[in-house]
């Protein structure tokens, strides 16, 4: 191993000046590192937002809804209200409760002969603060449409009683809240023919079906879980196996290649170091520090962008990990691509332009 008088601190100073100095040939590489770092975390955020949108769409379509009802349409089962509502406190369950169709009702100024149903407040929480929910489809054609996005408003039932109403936000279609009038259950409603469970997004409905079914108290026919909507594709599986997840590593390889090319363009500069007595070890250290500075910038930018966009990820550690992996691959690849500059004869390097 060759030795010279270079101190590590001075080599670091040299590396910083070579990378960040005015008119440095490595500035484009630094710009690439910033773009790669920010781009990596932004791309992961974009893909995660897309996944969330798909999941939200599936949620509205009913992908995460389980309906427990009798196995026989001719002999309905009676499911205990208490057992059904208690599922709302279970792990992985967003809402759960009985949902019972009732006869059509008149509601002014919304309309007459409107389809109606009663639901547990544990299934439709808005029913704990208002008397009636008016489906957006129904509200859209009447005077109440003006208050769609507003808070509770007054309506009149067919018997001239007034009630507070609200137009709910989008719910899974299986709950039928969009095109029905939904009322709370009566105290006398201690059981019902169907129990609806709304699972948290990303839950596995197939696994949850048997688990929660076993907790229901049922009289009459046994019940089974049915799924009103089953997606033909699994967005989570698609997300986990997407080719785009390799983008940070691809960017790292491009960065390493660019580092190698940029260093080759500086071969005659490396010759200057070697011919003025700088050892191979010091030149290698200098190249390593330059590469670390550039790759580290990519990693830092990825982390900074991940922090700025942290609300968009399933877990902010995901882009941070990918960002650091990108920096590591860039640094190692870049150094491997430039090592020979330290090993070649300086008189040959001096001839490279």
């Amino acid at each position: 191993m060759q030795h010279d008088g270079w101190r590590l601190g001075y080599l670091a100073r040299e590396a910083t000046r070579n990378v960040l100095g005015r008119g440095s040939r490595l500035l484009p590489l630094l710009a690439l590192a910033i773009l790669a770092g920010v781009g990596s975390s932004s791309f992961i955020a974009y893909e995660t937002v897309r996944l969330r949108d798909e999941i939200a769409q599936l949620d509205v379509q009913g992908q995460y809804v389980l309906v427990y009802r009798s196995t026989s349409t001719s002999a309905p089962a009676q499911i205990s209200r208490a057992s059904c509502e208690s599922l709302a406190g279970q792990d992985g369950v967003r809402h759960a409760g009985l949902l019972t169709p009732v006869s059509d009702m008149d509601l002014l100024p919304v309309g007459v002969g409107l389809p109606a149903q009663r639901a547990s407040t544990t299934l439709v929480p808005e029913l704990s603060r208002v008397d009636v929910l008016i489906g957006p489809v129904l509200a859209g054609s009447g005077a109440a449409s003006a208050d769609r996005s507003a808070s509770a408003f007054r309506v009149k039932t067919g018997t001239s009683e007034t009630a507070t109403a609200v137009v709910p936000t989008a719910r899974p279609e299986a709950l039928a809240t969009d095109f029905s009038v939904t009322l709370p259950l009566l105290p006398a409603d201690v059981d019902g023919p169907q129990c609806v469970v709304v699972l948290r997004a990303l839950s596995d409905p197939a696994r949850a079906g048997d688990l929660h079914g076993a907790a229901l108290a049922v009289e009459g026919n046994p019940v089974t879980a049915t799924r009103p909507f089953i997606a033909t594709n699994d967005p989570v599986d698609t997300y986990l196996h997407r080719p785009g997840r390799w983008l940070p590593l691809l960017l790292a390889l491009v960065g390493a290649l660019a580092t190698g090319i940029a260093s080759r363009l500086r071969a005659s500069e490396m010759a200057v170091y070697r011919l003025s007595g700088t050892s191979r070890t010091s030149v290698l250290t200098l190249l390593a520090l330059e590469t670390l500075l550039i790759a580290g910038t990519a990693g830092l930018c990825a982390v900074a962008a991940a922090l700025a966009l942290r609300d968009r990820y399933l877990d902010p550690l995901i882009p941070v990990t990918w960002g650091l992996a990108m920096a590591g691959v860039w640094a190692v690849g870049g150094l491997l691509a430039t090592t020979d500059l330290a090993l070649r004869r300086p008189t040959n390097l001096a001839k490279d332009r």
């Binding site: 060759q2 030795h3 010279d4 008088g5 270079w6 101190r7 001075y10 040299e14 000046r17 070579n18 100095g21 005015r22 008119g23 440095s24 040939r25 005659s268 500069e269 010759a271 200057v272 170091y273 070697r274 011919l275 003025s276 007595g277 700088t278 050892s279 010091s282 004869r345 300086p346 008189t347 001096a350 001839k351």
Partner: protein, 212 residues
């Protein structure tokens, strides 16, 4: 530092660059290494600086005439390359500073050494300028300043006047003359101006290029 080359033979594969070559380079003097193109002047400099191993023969360096010999090493030599190699985007001072820092000086001392060296080659007014904005002759002087700032006792210059006009060649010759006594300087050259400026000349001849 004096240099002795004895029975040196250098080959690149089947090609013999020189064989049985011997020479003595006096300490603190400027010696011109003269010979036609292809005679192996640059290769001899590379061998004397430890960049290129010999096929046979010896090269010995001595700090004093009766001192113990040491083997050539790149760390003992400051090299002034053919052409205008420089850290083009860095300042003239930085270009010389690296040699002083590489010699183990602390930053302040290195800056002083680099400034003195640049003053000696007549570039004291260009310290902050980017090296790429200098002319070929000025870059050659920067290379000489770098060799000076390194504080090394051996300076090898490979065709330092190549591609320079007469005025710049005279200037380089003047600088080399002024450097005598500070270091042992070997200048590979065709240039009669530089040969005349040297204290001694060693002649190399072109070998038959292919071994039997």
């Amino acid at each position: 530092m004096q240099l002795d080359v004895r029975d040196a033979t250098l080959t690149f594969g089947a090609v013999t660059v020189f064989s049985g070559f011997s020479a003595h380079f006096e300490s603190g003097r400027v010696t011109a290494l003269v010979g036609p193109s292809g005679s192996g002047k640059s290769s001899l400099l590379a061998a004397m600086s430890g960049h290129q191993p010999l096929a046979s023969g010896t090269i010995e360096l001595r700090a004093a005439p009766d001192g113990p010999p040491t083997a050539p090493s790149p760390q003992l030599v400051a090299w002034v390359p053919q052409g205008s190699n420089a850290l083009g985007r860095r300042s003239v001072l930085d270009n010389v500073l690296i040699a002083a820092l590489g010699a183990g000086l602390r930053l302040r001392a290195a800056e002083t050494a680099a400034t003195e060296a640049l003053t000696m080659v007549g570039l004291a007014d260009r310290l902050g300028q980017q090296a790429r904005k200098l002319s070929g002759g000025e870059l050659q002087r920067v290379a000489l300043a770098r060799a000076l700032a390194s504080g090394k006792e051996l300076i090898f210059a490979d065709e330092p006047s190549a591609n320079l006009d007469a005025a710049n060649t005279d200037r380089i010759a003047g600088i080399l003359s002024r450097l005598s006594g500070r270091a042992t300087i070997v200048v590979a050259t065709h240039d009669p101006v530089l040969v005349a400026a040297a204290h001694a000349a060693v002649h190399m001849r072109r070998e038959a290029r292919h071994a039997a």
